[in-house]
């Protein structure tokens, strides 16, 4: 297990180094001068030059890359061009929104998807299964900004249960914070619930087709009992991977939902930072996101190793083969 973890950790480091290079290169080639953006069309040439020097933009790219990487290793992500405060401070503030948002959405997904999937798989082929199937299809098919707008019109403007957007911070108590995040989390979660529920249903049905499921039935377990005790955990393994990917998506891919709900999240921060050519901010946030994704998938793989003992020893699960 230790060697397994170490090997994975090595690959993780390699991925991160590679990523940092790619990110830096990608962002360097974006046209547009941060200084000009900040000072606008009335700026004099010498003010621009002064600002560029202040921001360190007059240095050659390799030097800036090394400074960036070196800083990051020491925990210093540099100063934001536009905000002129440490990148990390800005990111932390945004994470205070994005992490709970992603967490809340993930919680919704992890509660709702398995329940839906189990019902559908248990009543495989029944009307309930079809209804669930249809609902999940629609959940996937509706563009997410539409879903978000719909939720606002229904729950904020119509029923008035939730604020229409914005986030006043956690200092007003967690109740207000959660209330502000509930609708956006729901908007993020619904398509993910639909996706995960569909996948999980298929995995459950697949697991229910395995020999050990039949063994369980032969022991006297009812269909639902056998499903819960013998198919669920096995079906969870592939689901884990997908859930891991979903979490990273929820963390960074929420740009649209953050926009519609006017939430100060990480996604919108990057979106704005690109428009404002706050390159160091973009680089650092994207790097953090990549880091998060890689770490999450690393954790998922470790969890995989814990959940499925076969992974550790390298023995692959056998394929079913029908004999004479």
């Amino acid at each position: 297990m230790l060697i397994y973890a170490l090997r994975k950790a090595g690959l993780l480091l390699l991925s991160l180094t590679l990523s940092s290079l790619v990110i830096f290169a990608l962002i360097e080639v974006i046209p547009g001068d941060p200084a000009q953006f900040m000072l606008g069309i009335g700026a004099e040439e010498d003010s621009l030059a002064a600002l560029r020097q202040e921001l360190g933009l007059d240095q050659p790219a390799p030097q800036r890359y090394l400074a960036w990487i070196g800083g990051m290793l020491l925990g210093d992500f540099g100063l934001s061009y536009t905000y002129r405060i440490p990148v990390l401070d800005v990111v932390m503030e945004r994470l205070a929104v994005s992490l709970p948002l992603a967490g809340l959405a993930m919680a919704m997904v992890l509660v709702a998807a398995p329940v839906i999937a189990i019902i559908a798989a248990w009543r495989h082929g029944s009307t309930a299964d079809h209804v669930v199937g249809g609902m999940t299809q629609i959940g996937i098919a509706v563009p997410n900004f539409w879903l978000a707008i719909l939720l606002i019109h229904l729950f904020a403007l119509g029923l008035g249960w939730f604020p229409a957007g914005g986030f006043s911070g956690w200092h007003n108590g967690s109740g207000a914070g959660l209330r502000a995040l509930f609708l956006p989390a729901l908007a993020l979660a619904i398509p993910q619930i639909a996706i995960l529920a569909r996948i999980m249903r298929e995995e459950l049905i697949r697991a229910a087709d395995q020999d050990y499921f039949r063994t369980a039935r032969a022991k006297g377990l009812g269909p639902l009992e056998a499903l819960l005790r013998h198919a669920l955990r096995n079906a969870l393994l592939p689901v884990l991977t997908i859930a891991g990917m979903q979490f990273s998506f929820l963390l960074a891919g929420a740009i649209i939902v953050e926009n519609v709900f006017a939430l100060p999240g990480l996604g919108r921060l990057v979106f704005q930072a690109i428009a404002q050519r706050d390159l160091i901010m973009v680089e650092s946030v994207v790097m953090l996101l990549v880091f998060a994704v890689v770490v999450v998938s690393f954790l998922v793989e470790l969890a995989y190793g814990l959940a499925d003992p076969r992974v550790r020893t390298g023995v692959r699960p056998p394929r079913v083969r029908k004999g004479p």
Partner: protein, 547 residues
């Protein structure tokens, strides 16, 4: 005394089609009923019908009486209280019959928890007791299925089935996936448990050898009908139905008649010479990574042989050589080395005095593999499949020539050349192995490696295909290396046989001599474990007589 199980007019229909014709039977406690027949004869369907676990869409009719109580009328929920408590069932695949993610102890304990209101600790204690009963007393109950060998896993499955001492045990091909030695052990276990608990056993197997050893009564099925039924003794000359007779004949083919003339000309010029061949499993895992092999054989106990070591062998021109050994001893690895699919770690392989090329080229050595279903690309037409080896021939023959050759070759192996334009799914298992043989022959190779070419086929077909292959190879003067775990089959086609154990060749000689007077303990074990129904029946009848 009330019979443990009575069936009256049991039928199963799937989508309007009758897959099980009205079946009546009676099985008393302490008795073993053997049900045999080819695949698809309805053996397993009978078992699932009794258990009430038929696939969705099937309709069951008729009476099922368990210890005098009708169970065919019970709801699925009520059947849940019967399954596992009053009927135990053991399945074919020990590899997949256990949940891979749960400790064996908890899977056994689940039976107690399901049927008795007892707590976790108590159930665990009972599970340990059952494990001890099936001979796994020294295996911690926290083990996961993949940490056990195939035989051990099957013991766990049996433990679950007999945990609550059911009146009826159904064993559906319970030993088919195991190697011969393990099979004997498991059969012995079932016998002991049945005796101790006074269980009725329904033994479903295609292997008449197993039936002859275990059963008191037999039923032979064909196409969902019981075509032969009676006491096991009827195997010894009492069979009347032609299908049953054919099945029995095929299951124990006559030994190869080493004709004198061939024996004399035996020192044929050596075609293939292997000297001091070494190969490590480690390299095989690499090759696996390379997509070359099926990986390590599954379910073997730990402590596998390190690989192949010090292999010396030679095959003469046109010779048919047998290679036997327990599963996992390295037979298939050797075959892949001889085919040039693996590069040896030491030693040499020469064909006609020249080093064997790796990877293979030139079409000098060809092969037929075990699984008729994975041997062909399902997307290609049979013509294309059969002519694929021409790729290795330079200059490549014209398309016309290839087509003619394929037609001729198919004809020769007994396949209608009209099938050439179809895809492989149109062919049955037996036809597929014939087509595979045609493919192996088409470049007129010097050596054909037959790796368990018929073990996936039902007995009667097995014999016919085997005979055809041997005949054609002999006529064409092509040397064959015949790999099998089935001694009866080897005995029927190979004048000379080699025995392999733990990655080394331990015996080499005329087949009859080797099997009759094993010099190496491994050979002896193989010969002892081989269940030939003729021998078994003979032994049992003799035993009965002595009683």
């Amino acid at each position: 005394m009330v019979a443990a199980l009575t069936l009256k007019g049991l039928t199963v229909t799937i989508a309007g089609q009758e897959v099980l014709a009205p079946l009546d039977l009676e099985l008393a406690r302490g008795k073993v009923l053997g049900i045999s027949g080819e695949s698809g004869a309805g053996k397993s369907m009978t078992a699932f019908a009794i258990m009430g676990l038929l696939p969705g869409g099937s309709v069951r009719r008729g009476q099922i009486t368990l210890d005098g109580e009708r169970i065919d009328t019970l709801s699925d929920q009520a059947m849940g209280r019967v399954r596992g408590r009053r009927i135990g069932m053991v399945f074919q695949e020990p590899m997949t019959a256990l949940n891979p993610l749960r400790a064996i102890g908890s899977q056994i304990a689940e039976v107690f928890r399901q049927h008795q209101r007892i707590n976790r600790v108590k159930a665990a204690r009972q599970a340990d007791a059952v494990l001890a009963r099936v001979g796994l007393g020294d295996i911690p109950s926290s083990r996961l299925p993949h940490e056990l060998s195939g035989g051990q896993r099957q013991r766990v499955v049996i433990a679950m089935a007999i945990a609550l001492k059911p009146g009826l045990l159904i064993a559906d091909e319970a030993t088919t996936a195991l190697d011969a030695t393990t099979q004997l052990e498991i059969l012995g276990l079932i016998q002991r448990l049945a005796r101790e608990d006074g269980m009725a056993v329904m033994l479903i197997t295609h292997d008449l050898g197993v039936i002859a050893r275990m059963a008191d009564d037999i039923i032979i099925m064909q196409d969902g009908k019981a075509v032969e039924r009676g006491s096991v003794a009827m195997l010894a000359g009492g069979l009347t139905h032609p299908h049953a007779i054919a099945l029995a004949e095929a299951a124990s083919p006559p030994a190869h008649k080493a004709d004198k003339s061939r024996a004399k000309t035996r020192p044929a010029p050596p075609l293939l010479k292997v000297e001091g061949l070494h190969y490590d499993w480690a390299s095989e895992t690499q090759s696996t990574a390379n997509g070359l092999s099926g990986g390590l054989p599954l379910g073997l106990p730990r402590g596998l042989p390190r690989g192949l070591r010090g292999i010396d062998l030679s095959i003469g021109e046109g010779e048919t050589l047998g290679l036997v050994g327990a599963s996992g001893c390295g037979k298939t690895t050797l075959a892949k080395l001889l085919l040039g699919l693996y590069a040896p770690d030491g030693g040499s392989i020469t064909l006609d005095g020249e080093n064997l090329p790796v990877p293979p080229r030139g079409g000098m050595v060809s092969a037929v593999f075990q699984d008729p279903y994975s041997s062909f690309n399902p997307r290609h037409r049979i013509l294309r499949l059969v002519t694929e080896p021409f790729h290795a021939v330079t200059p490549a023959p014209s398309g016309q020539h290839q087509g003619d050759a394929a037609a001729a070759m198919l004809e020769r192996v007994g396949i209608d050349p009209g099938m050439m334009e179809r895809r492989i799914h149109a062919a049955s298992g037996g036809q597929r192995q014939r087509i595979a043989f045609a493919r192996a022959l088409i470049t007129t190779p010097r050596l054909i490696v037959l790796d368990e070419p018929v073990s996936a086929l039902d007995a009667p077909i097995r014999v016919r295909v085997l005979a055809a292959m041997a005949e054609i190879a002999r006529e064409a003067g092509i040397a064959t290396l015949f790999i099998s775990h089935d001694l009866a089959v080897v005995r029927s086609v190979c004048p000379r046989v080699m025995v392999m154990a733990d990655g080394a060749l331990v015996e080499d000689g005329p087949t009859a001599d080797v099997f009759a007077n094993p010099r190496h303990p491994e050979t002896a074990r193989l010969v002892d474990a081989a269940l030939d129904w003729r021998d078994e029946i003979k032994t049992r009848l003799m035993r009965d007589e002595t009683k």
